[in-house]
């Protein structure tokens, strides 16, 4: 029980004024280091599920426990703090702040979380840690000071991974991070993502509509359109 990173228990989420639940999940347990693939078409409540897992929304019924903490019981600002400290997020695209350089985009994570900053400075300065991460994600030093607009989409997604990983958060949430990439780039991106997530021992939740990717994950759940969870596939 103690090593359960994510526990969902009888969770439903319904927007105010809507007739049906957007998300309904009876039970979901993820252990530390596990990789979950969430498959669902658009409109299947993927985004809402991610918002629940990231502590943006709280469930209408049931409990979402992250690292043993009942998220629904926290105040909104405590939830924001929890997310800043414990979670890293990678979006589909437009992950980066256009007015910051590559390395600043990575470092900005640490300016919202003392915990991440402390953990990122355990082996050198924050900058060194950020550079190290960028290098492991195959982003060479000459790109670190560049404006993000100079980067290809694939490179931008890798910067986003570096930002999500810095400070070693226990949970990484990736929302269709490969949808803007071609097949080659997608595989390379996934390799790097798995490699770095594994290096930190983080738990990964990966959302995609692309069933081809599912085979690379420990666990898969599928969200049905307008209707909660179907049978978990393993």
């Amino acid at each position: 029980m103690t090593d359960a990173v994510i526990e969902l228990d009888q969770v439903t989420f319904r927007w105010p004024g809507h007739a049906a639940d957007t998300v309904a999940i009876d039970e979901l347990h993820l252990k530390s280091g596990e990789h979950l693939f969430v498959r669902g078409a658009s409109g299947s409540g993927k985004t809402t599920l991610l918002n629940l897992l990231a502590g943006i929304h709280t469930p209408t019924t049931g409990e979402v426990r992250l690292l043993g903490t009942n998220i629904g019981a926290l105040s909104p600002s405590r939830r924001d703090r929890f997310r800043a400290d414990r979670i890293g997020v990678v979006f589909q695209q437009f992950n980066l702040l256009p007015y910051l350089s590559v390395i600043e985009n990575v470092l900005v994570s640490c300016s919202f979380s003392n915990r991440k900053r402390d953990r990122a400075t355990s082996a050198g300065t924050v900058e060194e840690t950020a550079r190290h991460l960028l290098r492991s994600l195959r982003l060479s030093d000459d790109l670190h000071k560049a404006p993000v607009a100079k980067l290809s989409v694939g490179q931008q997604q890798r910067v986003a991974v570096a930002r999500a990983l810095i400070g070693g958060p226990e949970i990484i949430i990736a929302d269709e991070p490969t949808s803007a990439l071609d097949a080659d780039n997608r595989n390379r991106f996934l390799d790097l993502l798995f490699q770095e997530v594994a290096a930190q021992g983080s738990t990964l939740i990966f959302v995609s509509h692309d069933p081809q990717l599912a085979e690379r994950f420990d666990r898969v759940i599928e969200l049905a359109e307008h209707d909660g969870q179907r049978e978990p596939a393993t």
């Binding site: 985004t47 703090r81 800043a84 702040l97």
Partner: protein, 418 residues
């Protein structure tokens, strides 16, 4: 990286629209402060049209009327003051000096004022400034004239030129004192007061041109300029006179004495207070100006909010990213309020700089053309209050886009809606 640095970098990324916003705020701030500066300068220049003169005495009338015809040469006196009354008051022990004024004639639309050399000695304007001669001298002979700056420049007269005085206030050839031309002996520096628009001659000169006139018409007697000098040119009456007292603290006592003068009905006014009172009656204009520039400022601020609101759409991603890395909704509001504050403070600074720039460039021009010296004053408390109100108002207004961003950030969460 602090929030301030993020706000600065984000603002720099959208600099074109923000610079335009800053410029529009700067212009409205300049306008608002400029109206205030000009208003105050105009008031002090107006109230100081005449200074150091303790009393102005004329035939009994309202204070404003007496002030208008004696100082501003607007309208005309209801009655004259006899020379005897003038002499009686001039000889009082508490009176230090007097300057008689005789009005009624004109030259091509400019009033002709008969007075004595003492006028150039005792008339003060602004900050106790004396009249100074730009070229030539003050009058010495009966047919000498000293022109105000505006008269000389608009009619193109120079020292040595001759001019003909018309009888009454309208130029009409049939009523010209063309048999007795005056010689211009001096031109005064510009003062920004009605002095600029007056032709100054001696009282004797006024008498001389009227020797052969009776009740506003030529008498049968035709005397040339030389012959007129043979007569006693002491006036029998004058229009008004200025009084300086030995002890200005006793002004009100002397004023009361003159108002109670038994020889004839007279009025004595204190020019400073009458000017200030008169200014109040025309100050509606400045209030209108002030209100108008206030509206310009409101338009500027609304423009700013519009700009910020329109950038909010393109910033939706930015906000989602910030939320994802742990920014609270209140942080987002703060970010937007901070940006607004930066814009407004920059706009205010630019506005003040623009104001000083305009005053530095335009001041000498205004001083030359209008005679009003616009100094480069430090911002006074009203103007400080204006700036403070602008900044506070804008920060409050910025809560509108801030609130919208707040609601969206809660609604959108991690969804980047493009």
């Amino acid at each position: 990286m602090t929030l301030l640095r993020i706000a600065l970098k984000s603002a720099r990324f959208r600099k074109t629209s923000l610079i335009l916003t800053i410029v529009s705020i700067a212009i409205s701030v300049t306008l608002l402060l400029g109206v205030d500066v000009v208003r105050k300068e105009a008031k002090s220049s107006f109230v100081n049209t005449i200074s150091q003169t303790d009393l102005i005495v004329g035939a009994r009338s309202g204070p404003t009327n007496l002030l208008l015809y004696s100082v501003f040469h607007i309208g005309s006196a209801t009655n004259n003051v006899t020379w005897e009354s003038y002499e009686t008051i001039a000889e009082r022990d508490d009176v230090a000096w007097t300057v008689p004024i005789s009005l009624g004639d004109s030259h091509r639309g400019f009033r002709v004022m008969g007075t004595t050399e003492d006028y150039f000695e005792f008339y003060r304007h602004g900050n106790k400034e004396r009249l100074s001669i730009k070229s030539g001298t003050v009058f010495a002979e009966v047919y000498d004239a000293v022109l105000g700056a505006e008269v000389a420049s608009s009619l193109g007269y120079n020292v040595g030129d001759e001019l003909i005085i018309s009888h009454g206030l309208v130029s009409a050839d049939f009523a010209a004192h063309d048999d007795k031309p005056f010689t211009i002996v001096g031109v005064l520096e510009r003062t920004g007061t009605p002095v600029d628009r007056a032709v100054h001659v001696s009282l004797a000169g006024i008498e001389a041109i009227h020797v052969d006139w009776q009740s506003g018409n030529r008498s049968g007697l035709q005397l040339d300029a030389e012959q007129a000098l043979q007569f006693d040119l002491t006036p029998t009456s004058i229009t008004a006179f200025m009084v300086g007292l030995e002890n200005p603290a006793l002004t009100f006592r002397t004023q009361r004495d003159i108002n109670d003068y038994s020889g004839e009905p007279l009025s004595a006014i204190t020019p400073g207070s009458t000017l200030a009172e008169f200014w109040r009656t025309i100050s509606t204009i400045e209030q209108v100006l002030f209100v108008m520039s206030g509206f310009v400022l409101i338009a500027g601020l609304l423009g700013m909010v519009t700009t910020i609101l329109s950038t909010l759409n393109e910033r939706r991603r930015e906000i989602a990213v910030l939320r994802a890395i742990g920014a609270r909704p209140t942080t987002i509001v703060l970010l937007i309020a901070l940006e607004t504050l930066l814009i407004v403070v920059a706009g205010c600074l630019a506005g003040v700089a623009l104001l000083y720039g305009l005053l530095a460039i335009g001041g000498p021009f205004v001083a030359d053309r209008v005679g009003v010296d616009i100094l480069l004053p430090w911002l006074d408390s009203t103007q400080g209050l204006i700036l403070g109100a602008v900044i506070v108002g804008a920060t409050l207004v910025s809560l509108v886009p801030g609130f919208i961003a707040y609601r969206r950030s809660i609604q959108d969460g991690l969804a980047v809606r493009v």
